[in-house]
Symmetry: C2
Subunit: 270 residues, 2 copies
Amino acid sequence: MSDRIAESGVQGLARQGLTGQDRGSGTALDGKGPLFDQIKRAVAGQILRGRWQAGERLPNEEELSSLYGVSRQTVHKAIALLAREGFLVRRRRAGTFVATGRRDRFALPIEDIGDVVARDGRVYEFRIRERKSLRNGEGIRWPDLPDGAPILTLECLHFSDGMPIQHEWRLVNLDAVPEVADEPFDSMAPSRWLVDRVPWSSAEHTVRAVNATAEMAALLGVEPGTACLSIRRQTMHLSRPITLVHFLSVGDRFSLSGASITDSATELNM
Amino acid sequence: MSDRIAESGVQGLARQGLTGQDRGSGTALDGKGPLFDQIKRAVAGQILRGRWQAGERLPNEEELSSLYGVSRQTVHKAIALLAREGFLVRRRRAGTFVATGRRDRFALPIEDIGDVVARDGRVYEFRIRERKSLRNGEGIRWPDLPDGAPILTLECLHFSDGMPIQHEWRLVNLDAVPEVADEPFDSMAPSRWLVDRVPWSSAEHTVRAVNATAEMAALLGVEPGTACLSIRRQTMHLSRPITLVHFLSVGDRFSLSGASITDSATELNM
DNA sequence: CCACCCATTATGTACATACATTATCGTTCG
DNA sequence: CGAACGATAATGTATGTACATAATGGGTGG
């Protein structure tokens, strides 16, 4: 504690000269960034290096606090964050344990196709092929919406340097987004318009591989049967469906990529 | 502040009778769960309902603090968490703003194929087709590994009720995981073995759609050209490659699905 | 008038304190 | 001996206080 006071008034960076040793135990804090981040790195490091094995119990907050020479609150913050990120499991009275069997998830960014194309330095265009207003159940049924609810359907093609790369088929819940009825979509693609305008709170996705039908193949300018990535996404707001969209992209012109999520290690520059 | 004292000693649940009104302003806190969660819900609610628009500036911590009748620290915790989840953007001196253009990511679970099959109530089996030890650059090149590094290659098929559903082609860095050389994999599939045994800290993924080659089609028991989902994943630990794996699954027997990530709204039961 | 500088403001971090909550573990009682 | 119970140890939450950090926006001097 007392050694803390010596450097009180020094927060965040500029703690250069002060590495672990100055905090009592000699357990390595690197002196970079906020204290709680240093603790996170130190603890995550012990785990990643196998020093603390999966399932093993960590010292309690008091002990860590004196081990690293910081207050219990600071340790608590660091450990609570690691727990939130899935590295640790905490149980009152029982203690803190290294998480076992980390089932990972990976994150795929949902990017606007226009952004992707533009980032590749290509010219993006889109064309609305069809636009219809109808009621749910009339020819089309959107399962999560009651029959008779007004729906706008949009069919759209996306181009990169003039080459078709993605087909989009979309349903929009007109009860939830009435303004869409007056939007011509002559300069802005529906997906972009919706992202910018309509708040949403959750979404579900399904990714599959399918062979292009003759019709789709013709639209996308490929041989029938070409493998395509099919992405279905339903977006909701306050548990009300907003839009249901089906993207079809030619396999060798489009891919999804991403990194693991709770990537504390990356975050922590390890 | 003073109204807080009236109920000091009451934390977490059991705050039934005390709704917003008791905290001064009448801005709705629902009295359920920790105070900072209530604040999170209240603020996220305002945003989702469009009461606070995208890009708009929120009241500062002091104001929110008196608005909700809690301390600045509690407000800070709630707001900081919402910012961490991507709902808000904070800038010192400038203030707190509702995040604009929320780029969503969605989470795909990385499940062991065996678990998936078992959950469907089917019988899971796998078969190792080939296993070789070689050095990087001899016939195969793993770009992220230096030439000459020892590699174990595994080729493997996964079955559901006797039907082939996934082909796996894997490279393992023997420098990083030497024990794998002695593992026969006669009861446990390589993926499972690795997950259970080897710590890892990050991973990269790419998902594509491809047409089955004649060879793959034969192995998977489908027509050549059938659309397949191709997943490439490289797992690292402390910035050292551990394993590089390539899964190929028949399109209509396998799909990926998941929900959006920063789903504060779901978390918050909205 | 523009560039620079500095006061101000809002967020960020750290520590101390106090009490709540929860589940484990040991003890006691039937 | 087993079930119930209560002390206890661990994490969780809330508040007060203090100061750090960053950047805005206005004022000042050239």
